[in-house]
Symmetry: C2
């Protein structure tokens, strides 16, 4: 494979050869960078080496890493960062843990304790927002970071050259770098990732003892709200332990809204549907939800509601979706987003296809002519 | 258009010509059934007539409906059902409200109050689980019910012939009928629809005052959990008012789990990440969530985890998805489910494609050969 030109220069030492470390190694090796690996588990290290993520690092060699990337679990990241800063006095060091304040605090405190307050200046935190359900080097992929946000977290004494080196690394692997401070990062991921994860699990937990006949009525709304409830409890326990404060604070605010709902639903249940203030309570939370969801950026940074929607019935035969998308390609319609819906036991599905709103009418008419069944083709 | 053979015979009177009533009328008219419409709003009635959903009903005519379908908002459904039972002493009557116990109670009590305890025997409740974001006859579609569950809710004195007529109607419009009693229905939809709706709004409501830089980190998990938070507050207020008891009871159980999480997150925040019992608390709710989500039926009634997964990077050019699906069709791979992921501001997306697990390796190799970039192509 020809190497692609990148700005990051080696040698790079990656400490921790799991999913993130091995994926990073694979990507940088493909660009011709010298990558060395360390792992407390010889088996993990060997696996990462075998898939081509890098070479085992030897203290005895004359290799001096320019950049060290700590890709260990978050609860040992600060200790590994401090160790790397001491072992390699000329290297920049970053980590990829999904919580940032706890790691930075550990590094800064260690510098002070060791009588070297400038030690931390070569450290800059990272959080590449990439991952998958499976873990370990066996699940590694060079394209894991492609198109994902990569948060770069400098602290007060970070060397600007170190910040640049980490930004460059992010860009070189295809990520989009965003700079923010550790508190902003931790509060942001609590809001857009950690709280949705826990609340999705709370909804799904209610299904555990449901009657099976109830489950037959499950639709797309339930599938969407509970998809991430299938995530790995061990991984998430470590993440949430490192970000307990921001997560607890958002959950506490959410509980206020929930309490308000329960009070008014209980009152409506006892006094009748139009009493007890349920109308106001439900409206309050749903309108706030409407406003909140409109703030989520869409595919190209815009709000998802800016797209027009086609709803097409898809027969359950091989190639049916392919034919639909080929025909959309023929009439030069680009698909901005797509959701497939289906019911239990059914041999037919519904595709909701988001496209340029200016072209909905034309696309509907065209597809109808080609024999597709559309929902709400009202012309 | 040639009429398709169906078992339902007319004349049918539909009271309420909004989205559901007009869609039902369109469907039955296309099958050659005589459909008549009533609506308290002359404008709505005229719109439904104009799109071909049926003809205005006149008391002066000699038309006697065999079946009356009440498709009004849920808070007036029982009154309309009772009126129809009295006006048409030989007709079966059903309604399509998304709550069922409150309607049946109203009908049974009216029969007793009017000194006619057998009045209700010609009534059977319905809940076709179909809908869309927009309302009114303008959004109507003959295919709205296709492939959707249609719950048939008989009460203790329902005439078995009336139950059969409603089941037949459901099957004729392409729905899958499920029979259950009113309490089971109301508790089931509370669990699989009403609670996920409210909790999705609770998550989205927290985004209202988020910093915009936080929103840049939003990923697919947030999009999935908050998609239905964009729903119409007015519609949902009416639904939730009619099912306050079951919804409050599930939310109260959910709040117990939430309280447990908050207590242990707060403790971890104060005493350090490995204290305060956070590990146990997070594990409990996430493992319960894992078990709950595994109970949701997949496309053909099986659990979604039975599928194998392909992850393919999709360049943002017209026809790229179409080409991918055409090529999957060429190698005879059927797509069981599909999720498109993308990040803010990015020109590339990731397609997660669920297929027969026995064919994942072959499909990966084939797509790779055709030039697609796959995540975790590890052969």
């Amino acid at each position: 494979m020809p190497t692609r030109p990148i700005a990051t220069t080696g040698p790079i030492l990656i400490i921790g050869s799991g999913l993130l470390g091995a994926s990073l190694g694979l990507n940088l090796r493909a660009a011709g960078v010298d990558v060395y690996l360390e792992d407390s588990s010889p088996t993990s290290l060997r696996l990462a080496q075998d898939i081509g993520a890098g070479f085992p690092f030897s203290e005895a060699s004359d290799v001096t890493p320019a950049l060290v990337v700590v890709a260990t679990p978050p609860d040992v990241a600060d200790v590994c960062v401090v160790g790397a800063l001491q072992r390699f006095p000329s290297a920049f060091v970053t980590d990829v843990a999904s919580v940032k304040k706890a790691v930075a605090q550990g590094v800064l405190e260690a510098g002070t304790a060791k009588g070297d307050p400038t030690l931390a200046s070569r450290y800059v935190g990272s959080h590449p927002m990439a991952g998958r359900e499976r873990s370990g080097a066996g699940a590694a992929d060079a394209d894991l970071f492609y198109g994902r946000p990569w948060v770069v977290v400098a602290h007060e004494t970070s060397d600007p050259t170190a910040v640049l080196a980490v930004r460059t690394l992010a860009t070189d692997v295809g990520s989009v770098p965003y700079e923010m401070d550790a508190s902003t990062h931790d509060e942001s991921v609590a809001l857009v990732s950690h709280v949705p994860q826990l609340v999705s699990s709370l909804i799904a937990a209610r299904l555990e003892e449901a009657r099976s006949e109830s489950m037959n009525l499950a639709g797309q709304g339930l599938r969407d709200t509970t998809r991430i409830a299938a995530s790995d409890p061990r991984l998430w326990t470590a993440i949430l332990a490192g970000n307990a404060g921001p997560v607890a604070s958002i959950l506490t605010a959410l509980r206020c809204d929930l309490d308000d709902l329960i009070v008014h639903l209980d009152a409506a249940n006892q006094r009748g549907p139009l009493r007890g203030g349920i109308v106001g309570a439900v409206n309050r939370v749903m309108e706030a939800g409407n406003r909140g969801v409109s703030r989520i950026p869409g595919k190209h940074g815009g709000a998802p509601s800016r797209y027009g929607e086609l709803e097409v019935l898809i027969p359950d035969t091989p190639g049916a979706l392919g034919r639909l998308f080929s025909e959309l390609g023929e009439i030069d319609i680009n698909i901005e987003d797509l959701v497939l819906e289906h019911s239990a036991g059914q041999q037919v599905g519904l595709a909701r296809i988001m496209i340029d709103p200016a072209r909905v009418g034309e696309a509907e008419a065209d597809l109808e002519r080609r024999g597709w069944r559309l929902i709400n083709y009202s012309n």
